[in-house]
Symmetry: C2
């Protein structure tokens, strides 16, 4: 009897290793059931869905997945296709590729197929991964675009609705690589009730069912926690005026570090390793 797979949600900062150790992709594969994995690849964020879909298909085939399908939705009417809906019931893993997060949400938000994916993920029946644009869509609110090289201000970030798979978070990806701290801070000023999660390239924040976020990969995961925010001028200033944010909590997490989504604190290595269970 195979052990039931411990599912998770893997939020990947883009540019994950696809050639060498492929640690993050391998973790997704394992969490999807390894040799028993039935994986759906959703390349809808990309304007070259077949190309990018095939790339991931080869990777997971190579790892030994049992079955693989590319769910190639290019218009919303396809997002209730019975063929896809049926396949989804057998899936143990769903992978959202990179591309444009506004395109991905435009095609999939509130469609039967997306509702079903979210439902099965939240029940712990399916492991979900999203990279780059596929990571951006995880929250209720989503960063659709923005800039860098400025003081935090509301015009530095374009907000949109995400797919709401982990509603509590506000994700930014390619994070330090593309210098996105100011835009994440600008987003958090607008939505201080959400947890800012900035994920570097080839780095993954893996959300476990018990609320722990586990970090893996080459870079860092940056947590911006506005729970104790004592003041912001966000409501009172123009869209290009600089933003005040008093008393944020900031954590820079590396491979092996853990952070609790609901308790809002990191697990400190050595000292409280055991208490995490």
């Amino acid at each position: 009897m195979p052990k039931p797979t411990k599912t998770a949600i893997l939020v990947i900062g883009g540019a994950e290793d696809k050639v060498h150790g492929r640690e993050i992709l391998h973790t997704f594969f394992n969490r999807s059931g390894a040799a028993d994995a039935v994986i759906a690849i959703v390349p809808s964020a990309s304007r070259e869905p077949l190309l990018i879909g095939d790339r991931y298909r080869h990777i997971f085939e190579d790892m030994g997945a049992k079955r693989l399908e590319i769910i190639d939705i290019r218009e919303r009417s396809q997002a209730e296709d019975p063929k896809y809906m049926e396949f989804l019931e057998e899936c143990t893993g769903v992978f959202l590729t990179g591309g444009d997060q506004l395109r991905l949400c435009g095609l999939l938000a509130e469609t039967p197929i997306m509702e079903r994916i979210r439902d099965r993920v939240q029940k712990g029946e399916v492991t979900l991964a999203g990279t780059s644009a596929g990571a951006a869509v995880m929250g209720h609110h989503m960063i659709g675009g923005g800039g860098s090289g400025e003081s935090p201000n509301r015009s530095l970030v374009d907000m949109a609705m995400g797919l709401g798979i982990i509603p509590e978070v506000l994700v930014d990806q390619h994070f330090h690589n593309r210098n996105r701290m100011a835009r994440l801070l600008s987003a958090i000023a607008i939505h201080p009730d959400r947890l800012g999660v900035g994920i570097d390239e080839d780095t993954c924040a893996m959300f476990e069912q018990d609320g722990w976020i586990q970090v893996m990969g080459k870079g860092t995961v940056t947590i911006v926690d506005a729970q104790d925010l004592s003041y912001t001028n966000q409501m009172d200033v123009g869209v290009t005026d600089p933003l005040s944010l008093h008393s944020l909590r900031l954590h820079i997490l590396c491979h092996g570090d853990r952070y609790h989504l609901y308790q809002r604190h990191p697990l400190t290595p050595m000292t409280d390793e055991k208490s995490a269970g």
Copy 2:
């Protein structure tokens, strides 16, 4: 009888307005005694000291300073020139221009003239301003250079010794404009006992004698406070490995905001305005 001037240290993030409102430079001028101001301009950070010295000379002349001298030190032996030492005794304001902070410290650190400036500034007899490189040198430790576009790591920042005028702080300038959050975080990982102060262009952190830091100008002042740091891997990893920093406090401050250097908290507008005196 003129009121005694309330001196301060103005740490300016570079590219301050020199043409229009000139608010920051005007504040320096006022804090140096306005029409009674006797100002020393120190352009030693620059490889074009006369050019940059003259630019500031014209600005402060135009504002109506009583006397102005350019302290044009180009080698360390000049940094005890009696002519400069004498002028310094009459000074009410000293202005450190931009350029290269390593050059500025190389020429001035631990020289009689610099010791005397620091002494008079710390006694509250002289107002000091430094912009860009002139801001970088304020702390005991100094960021000499570095990069961006990477996860925080030790190789992202080159540390050097500063002039130690405000030993508690670790300053970075042109801060959000040049995407320097990751390098300031890398510096703070190395020196978590110092307060990280990232200052945007045309923005000033004005350090008052009572410990309050007042923010003025167009951008933000970013405070990274590692006082409650619960964990860092800084001592255990290679120079290019990503850094963990758990439980930092982060404040983004705008024009009019205040932060207390020793109490380590911002003044929250409206609620505790009165308690600051």
